[in-house]
């Protein structure tokens, strides 16, 4: 199976968009090789703007391009694309209702060795609180490609969250991508695993481990954190009575919080949020970090098994 990072697929999709639509423009803040916007830059130098190491200016310039009818994709590392420029996104983009696509690569702990300063663990939380913001977190490269095309078609600000490591495809090759829709990947009666981004691969592997123990999991991939596929989540919770959320993000403010808010209000259900606990990340290999924070199939299966057992009959 060919391995590819979601950021690479983004670069390919951006290039395709550039060919088909001359309203597409791209911006970067000195990280175009890493975010893969460099391919677009080479093909369409007139429509690519490097603003240097100046993320606030990156967002504002993108807003101005959108104001004049362009469809700007502004990319940099997720940690700089969101938290560093929260107020620029809030006022110049979201409050102004500009059609800007903000692309954050190198999200989560799988940035690895660069450590906490470069590991965006709060970005979904920040973006989720902004009115009108759409948040997309693809599970694999093919989905990242489709999500990029969908973001271009979507009218309004989008935050597209991408990862650094090369990963194997996890979704069916014909999986549809629609903003606001989840994907039911597995249907089981005992527990519901709700995952986003890189954690969907982990959820599927955990479900396989659980099946060997005669515990059958429903697995729902949620590539859009906002708007959330409320119906699918409530259905999954209602069917199983126990929910685990999985994300490469702080357990505060991201998918886990969104699901807790939804279920708390509409369908109170036994819930466990898995992600990075309330702490900063640290250096290490991606694999070591995922293990350290319990984001592995075996750990998820253990937590799920305990939940099912403790819930009783």
């Amino acid at each position: 199976m060919s391995l590819k990072a979601t950021r690479e697929a983004y670069g390919e999709a951006l290039l395709a968009l550039g060919r088909s639509n001359n309203r597409i423009v791209a911006l970067d803040a000195d990280l175009s090789q890493s975010t893969y916007s460099a391919g677009f830059a080479k093909a369409f130098p007139d429509r690519f703007f490097n603003v240097g190491v100046a993320e606030a200016d990156l967002i504002g310039t993108a807003a101005g391009l959108a104001a004049a009818g362009k469809i700007p994709f502004a990319s940099t590392f997720a940690v700089f694309a969101t938290g560093r420029v929260y107020d620029q996104i809030r006022n110049s983009v979201a409050y102004s209702r500009f059609n800007v696509k903000i692309v954050g690569s190198h999200s989560g702990v799988t940035v690895g060795e660069d450590g906490a300063s470069h590991q965006a663990l709060e970005d979904i939380s920040l973006m989720r609180s902004l009115p009108g913001m759409t948040i997309i977190v693809p599970a694999d490269a093919p989905e990242a490609y489709r999500a990029t095309l969908a973001a271009a078609d979507w009218e309004g600000p989008v935050y597209l969250r991408l990862g650094r490591p090369k990963t194997a495809p996890v979704l069916p090759s014909d999986a549809p991508f629609q903003i606001g829709r989840g994907l039911l990947l597995k249907s089981g009666r005992d527990i519901c695993l709700l995952s986003t981004g890189s954690m969907t691969a982990v959820a599927l592997e955990a479900a396989a481990i659980l099946a060997e123990q005669d515990i059958y999991a429903t697995v729902i991939h949620l590539p859009t954190i906002k708007p959330l596929d409320k119906e699918m989540i409530i259905e999954g919770a209602a069917k199983t009575g126990a929910v685990i959320t999985l994300e490469e993000h702080s357990i505060i403010g991201g998918l886990g919080s969104a699901v807790a808010e939804l279920l708390g209000e509409y369908r109170p259900t036994l819930l466990k949020r898995l992600g990075v606990p309330d702490c900063f990340g640290q250096s290490g290999t991606a694999e070591a970090l995922l293990k350290h924070y319990g984001l592995t199939p075996s750990r998820v299966a253990t937590v799920a098994g305990e939940m099912v057992k403790n819930r009783g009959a």
């Binding site: 423009v25 240097g52 100046a54 310039t61 807003a63 101005g64 104001a67 620029q88 409050y95 500009f98």
Partner: protein, 280 residues
């Protein structure tokens, strides 16, 4: 040279904008008169002489764009837009009220003629750069104007954007700096000195012109010079008087963000020669 008659027309328009600014802030009971009044001549020149605009088609693709980066000067923008016919003048009295399109700071989706929501300082020049880049991509003739405050230049993003404007040689962009010398906590040279301000912009690659921001002939000449400049953005540093046109407000820092009461409004309007017939 401008005909004396043209200058008189603009001066009369400026007087009417000042009356509207003071009246709407007084009606709202809050707002920022000082930094709105210092911009009156610049806005009058832009909206009644320089910019290509059609109030009936506020979203027209070929319009000139203005970004009010110092969003707290919303009243001068609102007064100019109303006078130009973008919305009925009686809307001005709803400033800052619940549900009003005239938000405390300009909100793009609320009011035709507002190009971007501002109020959080330091962001407008970046947005103006993006607009100017888009115009150039489309080979479009429209121009971008951006108005910055002096205290606002303490924001780091202004200088990020200043580098972008000159790097991309945005000669379709003209900036005004409202150099009234006062910010909320006091004179700019005491809060955090901006000088040498013209040298700063020069060294960032801008064509810099320093003018009297209350002189129509100087404003118009500077803009004309900016339009002729190739390959470089122009910064017009406009020396202004905060609270200009209202003697008891002029150069007084306490009038940055306070509304005049009824008596003060009466005195201010009388000073502007507002006739009874113009009232309401």
């Amino acid at each position: 040279m401008l005909a004396a008659e043209e200058i008189r027309r603009l001066q009369e328009q400026a007087r009417l904008l000042r009356i509207d600014i003071l009246s709407m802030i007084a009606a709202a009971g809050s707002g920022h008169p000082g930094g709105s009044l210092s911009l009156v001549e610049i806005f009058t020149a832009l909206y009644f002489k320089i910019m290509t605009l059609d109030p009936r088609r506020p979203g027209a693709e070929d319009r000139d764009r203005l970004v009010l980066s110092k969003g707290h000067a919303a009243p001068v923008l609102y007064a100019a837009l109303a006078s130009r016919g973008f919305f009925p003048r009686d809307t001005l009295s709803t400033l800052r009220r619940l549900g009003s399109p005239l938000q405390g700071h300009p909100a793009r989706h609320c009011l035709p003629g507002v190009e971007v929501s501002t109020g959080s300082l330091g962001q407008g020049l970046s947005v103006a750069n993006g607009m100017a880049l888009a115009a150039r991509l489309d080979d479009a003739p429209w121009r971008v104007y951006v108005v910055l405050g002096d205290g606002e230049c303490q924001e780091g993003q202004v200088w990020e954007a200043a580098m972008t404007s000159s790097h991309y040689r945005l000669d379709n962009l003209t900036a005004f700096l409202d150099y009234n010398g006062l910010q909320i906590d006091g004179p700019t040279d005491q809060v955090k000195n901006l000088e040498p301000l013209a040298d700063k912009w020069c060294s960032f690659g801008w064509n810099v012109l320093s003018i009297d921001g209350h002189s129509f002939s100087e404003i118009l000449a500077a803009v004309e010079e900016a339009h002729c400049r190739r390959g470089q953005p122009t910064m017009i540093i406009a020396e202004t008087v905060k609270g200009k046109g209202v003697p008891f407000m002029e150069n007084r820092v306490e009038w940055h963000g306070v509304a005049p009461n009824r008596e003060q409004l009466k005195e201010a309007l009388a000073g502007l020669g507002k006739k009874e017939a113009e009232e309401n």
